[in-house]
Amino acid sequence: MSGAMPVAIGNYLALSSIIFFIGVAGVLLRRNPLIMLMSVELMWNAANLLFLAFARVWLNNAGHVFAFLVITVAAAEAAIGLAIIVTVFRTRANVDVDEVGALRG
């Protein structure tokens, strides 16, 4: 959209950090790996929002490129995370992360 930015950058910083820490809380509080993965997605997207907000403030499209790369890496992460969940579930028939301690050593 052309014209001015709707609100000041501070609002974007506040919104983005709130969403990021909702994601952090999700990873810390939930024990369902699917919801933990979704919380990680929330964190990726909070960072992306800030990339785009600062790209808009500085009128520099480097932020757009980085947001695009972040989306790609997030897609790879989601695919691998879900594959791990499927594998664990296939061998253990259980997806509670506290019950799955095989990697603890």
Binding site: M1, S2, A4, P6, V7, A8, I9, N11, L13, L15, S17, I19, I22, G23, A25, G26, L28, L29, R30, R31, N32, L34, I35, L37, M38, S39, E41, L42, N45, N48, L49, L52, A53, F54, R56, V57, W58, L59, N61, A62, H64, V65, F68, L69, I71, T72, V73, A74, A76, E77, A78, I80, A83, I85, V86, T87, A93, V95, D96, D98
Partner: protein
């Protein structure tokens, strides 16, 4: 514009909270879907039209569908998959304190970042115009000239992810470590190379 921004912000926070507090993963997916659509709206408000489209196509169209597939796969036949907010009560206080401290530190440091940020420039170009800020042409030019190497590295990361997923979740019998199979593959490769050299 400002009203729309606050509306989007409220939707973003509400759906984020819903995502982490939903009882069943499938409700989380629905909340996350709303979250991503609202995020696409806010991207378009930031003149990042292409990224808004990408957000919908990749996140809603690919990643969330993958989540739904996995939930459907894991829920079939097994009862106890959709566990609720199990440890939430026990972990709530420590997790809340840790999150609040981290949030405070971030807010403290970000205060300085706001002070040093310039006053936002108005965009003079018209959206949709060739070469306008945030347009596909503008984005593509940056991606394929200045940021070509990061782009190529991302392609490599995606390839590694594809191979990793096939190894992890694919047919286990195909990838079972078998001495005979490895020997046979090595022999076939050697023969193919020899044959290629003769031609």
């Amino acid at each position: 514009m400002i009203v729309l921004w606050w509306l989007v912000a409220i939707v973003l926070i509400a759906t984020a909270v819903w995502t982490i507090s939903a009882r069943k993963p499938v409700y989380s997916v629905v909340a996350l879907l709303t979250h991503f659509l609202a995020l696409a709206v806010s991207y378009i408000m930031l003149s990042a039209e292409f990224l808004g489209v990408i957000q919908v196509v990749i996140y809603v169209g690919a990643i969330l569908v993958l989540f739904v597939f996995v939930i459907a796969l894991l829920s079939s036949g097994v009862g106890s998959f959709s566990v609720g907010p199990d440890k939430m009560k026990k972990a709530a206080w420590p997790a809340g304190i840790v999150t609040a401290i981290a949030f405070g530190l971030l807010a403290w440091k970000l205060g300085g970042a706001i002070a040093s940020t310039p006053v936002t420039a108005n965009i003079s170009t018209v959206a949709g115009e060739a070469g306008a800020f945030g347009s596909v042409a503008d984005f593509g030019k940056a991606l394929f000239t200045t940021y070509l190497l990061p782009f190529e590295i991302t392609a490599f990361v995606l390839m590694v992810a594809v191979i990793g997923v096939i190894l992890l979740a694919g047919d286990q019998s195909v990838h079972a470590p078998s001495r005979e199979r490895a020997d046979r593959v090595a022999r076939e490769m050697r023969e193919a190379i020899v044959r290629g050299g003769e031609e």
